[in-house]
């Protein structure tokens, strides 16, 4: 049998169909990437045993119900918080009232002084979420910059540009993000 010619399908409306689908996806699409500050909550405590942490190792940050900041018992400002945290965590002058440092061997880095300091963040029930995030942001910035310092010193790149997994781990070990979101407390009265 002679090969019969298959009638060609008119593809002129193909574009219209594609347009229809395109407009549907254009409308339903949400391009927002979810971003946020990641934190790890402490596991629940069974009993109220006092944590055995030396007083000098704790950096107390308190946000009051009127969104004011109290750092180590005195009124402070959010603009100075980052530098305060950095100074506290590094303790450059080996001062007595700033946290102890422990010489630890970390793979890839060698012996590094690791601070035992912990930032304790407390807030009131009346604190606004915006202020709380701002404080969290400052704390994160401080730790990020400390990591950058270490990373630059040993590897010559910033921490976020460090690709090697083992190296990232080493830096993370040298500067652990020691932020404790303490148990809630009703301080300011609300």
């Amino acid at each position: 049998m002679a090969s019969r010619k298959v009638p060609e399908i008119n593809a002129g409306s193909m574009a219209d169909i594609a347009f229809l689908l395109l407009i549907f996806f254009l409308v339903t699409t949400t391009m927002d990437v979810d971003t946020g500050i990641t934190r790890k909550l402490p596991p629940p405590v069974e009993d109220d045993t006092e944590m055995d942490i030396n007083e000098r190792n704790i950096f107390k940050v308190l946000v009051s119900s009127s969104d004011r900041l109290m750092v180590e018992g005195s009124l402070s400002d959010i603009r100075t918080l980052k530098e305060d945290v950095k100074e506290f965590m590094t303790n450059p002058g080996n001062r007595e009232d700033l946290p102890e440092k422990e010489l630890r061997y970390i793979e890839n880095l060698g012996d590094v002084e690791v601070s035992k300091g912990v930032v304790s963040l407390k807030n009131d029930r009346g604190t606004s979420y915006e202020m709380y995030i701002k404080v969290q942001n400052e704390l994160t910035t401080a730790f990020r910059e400390l990591r950058d310092d270490i990373s630059l010193r040993f590897y010559g790149v910033k921490f976020k540009n460090l690709i090697n997994k083992d190296r990232r781990k080493a830096v993370q070990k040298a500067i652990p993000i020691a932020i404790s979101e303490a148990e809630p407390e009703n301080i300011g009265g609300n």
Binding site: T35, T38, D124, I133, K134, R144, N190
Partner: protein
């Protein structure tokens, strides 16, 4: 010579549009791939706070969302900050069940990597957030993310 008759220019020449569907399809695929359908309808108003040190939430399928904010219909539900889980208002006691259901929907090996994203309005008081955090600690959902918008530098 009459042999080569000069073509009379009859206005504009038609543009070849046979490649148009291909272009449209390309766009279509782009949007199909990048699209994420909204799963819940927001019934609370959420304007996220701003932060500069934000991280991207990887693996959206492993994230459960808790919305906190003032109800959209203020006349009906008041102006107090409320928690929204899925499509309805909830109280802090519902969170444990919500997390349990979310866990069940994920496979065994994915469960340790689950994250809870708290999408709260910036005017929310921390009392509600603290309650949520305590509840999450109880059920062992310890990885959380304070949803915030990325800005270059925050204003004090």
């Amino acid at each position: 010579m009459a042999r080569f008759k000069k073509k009379k220019s009859s206005g504009m020449q038609a543009i070849n549009t046979s490649a148009l569907p291909d272009i449209i399809f390309m766009l279509l695929f782009f949007f199909m791939v990048t699209t994420t359908m909204r799963e819940v309808t927001l019934i609370v108003q959420v304007i996220p706070p701003e932060a500069s040190e934000v991280q991207k939430l990887e693996k959206k399928s492993l994230v459960s969302y808790i919305y906190v904010g003032v109800p959209m219909k203020k006349a009906k539900f008041g102006t107090e900050s409320r928690i929204q889980l899925n499509d309805a208002f909830a109280s802090t006691t519902d969170i444990a069940e919500f997390i349990a259901t979310e866990k069940e929907q994920r496979s065994e090996e994915d469960r340790p990597f689950m994250t809870t994203s708290i999408k709260a309005d910036k005017a929310t008081r921390m009392g509600v957030i603290t309650d949520i955090k305590q509840e999450l600690r109880k059920v062992g959902a310890l990885k959380i993310n304070y949803s915030s918008r990325k800005v270059a530098g925050i204003s004090y």
